[in-house]
Assembly symmetry: C2
Homo-oligomer: 322 residues x 2
Amino acid sequence: MSPFASMGFAGNPLDRLSERRGDAAALAALRESFCARAVVFVGGMPVLRPNGADFLVLHALGEACALAGAFEPVLLGRDEAGPVYGVMLPEKLLAGQPADPANSFVDQRRMTIAGRPDLIVGDLRALATAGALSEAETAILAQAKAVLHWHASHGFCARCGARTNVAQAGWRRDCPCCGAQHFPRTDPVVIVMVTQGDDCLMGRQKHFPAGMYSCLAGFVESGETLDEAARREIFEEAGVRLGAVDVLASQPWPFPSSLMIGCRAQALSREIVMDEVELEDCRWFSREEARAMIAGRHRENLQASNPIAIARRLLDHWLIEG
Amino acid sequence: MSPFASMGFAGNPLDRLSERRGDAAALAALRESFCARAVVFVGGMPVLRPNGADFLVLHALGEACALAGAFEPVLLGRDEAGPVYGVMLPEKLLAGQPADPANSFVDQRRMTIAGRPDLIVGDLRALATAGALSEAETAILAQAKAVLHWHASHGFCARCGARTNVAQAGWRRDCPCCGAQHFPRTDPVVIVMVTQGDDCLMGRQKHFPAGMYSCLAGFVESGETLDEAARREIFEEAGVRLGAVDVLASQPWPFPSSLMIGCRAQALSREIVMDEVELEDCRWFSREEARAMIAGRHRENLQASNPIAIARRLLDHWLIEG
């Protein structure tokens, strides 16, 4: 199996129905469908229904809309059971004490929905890390999180400052004042497995879990190719120059709206000149050390990133190659 | 040589100095540098200085700022000769009749800068197509065009509607009202060379030059991998299902802020079901036909896309492989 199979947030099974987004009659029929369901977010966190030992992420659309008030559901797409929407609840519905605070992926602030003790508020990254949901559910939540965050942070026209209106079933916002059309953002990031012979380059940021090291990464800027962005980022963060850069795989990373583009690159130099603002540490690791990190038996107790992340899959890919 | 070498808009030679963008003293010293230069845009078009048979794209920063008024120059980076900025002139400076209307890449509206008959207004795509500028100049203009367009269309906070302020030497806009930080957009697009045996799939949009066919392309959406976006776009536009999808190269495409990510993919089916809203035609072309299109001897006078575009390089790559 490919080391890039079944990554977190990838594998969305929905037909996005993008050709229907401008068709008012088709949209109305979908909204009225008896089978219409919704994933629901509040304050950037998914709302779940405990169901025995499991959690359900899909709610009846009507019920979600009743909680959401004026929010216009975003059409995410359709699977064999019917249409699926993304719905965002007003943050004022967040209340203290969740139904089941023992679960590690419940929102750390221990919140639930006011008046709905049957619902819990989760943390998407923690849910994915815990493997608490299916690949399809995790991917649909990732799609919804990115586009709902965009609505929450883009209610006004960046060109003229007026309030904008939802259009295209939630995939555009239109300005009634200056006529500008705004589309959801997807921010490309290069994440690079830099290797030289039997060694690979990984670093850690201060906010990483203790002992965790990962591939270096950064946003692609205006006027850059992926290759140029990878070279710039690795030189800025580690002072290392790159030879060939290849793209191996990609992963949605909805925190809030990144697209991680996983590359491998040959280092042309070995000396590390670390950017101490961005990184807390950066070193070369041998294949043996990397295998020990993954197995949880590194002599300094260092860890590789979680298997949901493309950083880990890039490491796995390099280890398989070698 | 790689079929992806020296594409239009790639190959930017500037050190972007991103670590200096928050350093007021360093920024002041760069701005005061005797060698500071600027590329200048008006209404999305570069302002050039004719110089014999050539055109100069770099202007003295002081002169550019004098024309620009209150616009705060964006620090693009530095080359061995000194810092380079992007400067945008107010559109009211556009005036009729250029200095040299005979050049095909002069703005089609035949405009120049009021009171400055020594300057001409060009069209970036036409300049690149004509090969009128060096690779480095074209790439610097592409970087500037994308980030200057972003400033021109993002003067207000998308979160609260207030006017925002330039920060980080032009690489961020900050909201004084709600505290939001906004960054330039880069919109990832998948552009896909779909092949099956000796045939490749190309289509044309109504606005393409007469007879021109190109690879199919579309924006990556929230929650999609590159692979998933390629599969969705090709199925939506042509009804063709894909097997393996690989990323081969990428290209900045500042119209206004795209990053073209060039893929190749195996088709799993042959029947074309064309999206008649997006496309005017879509067909399979044999290698022989594709070679004839490039050579300008296709029997129906069909054309491949221009060599500046990654679409053409993807075609070249496929022809070389075969």
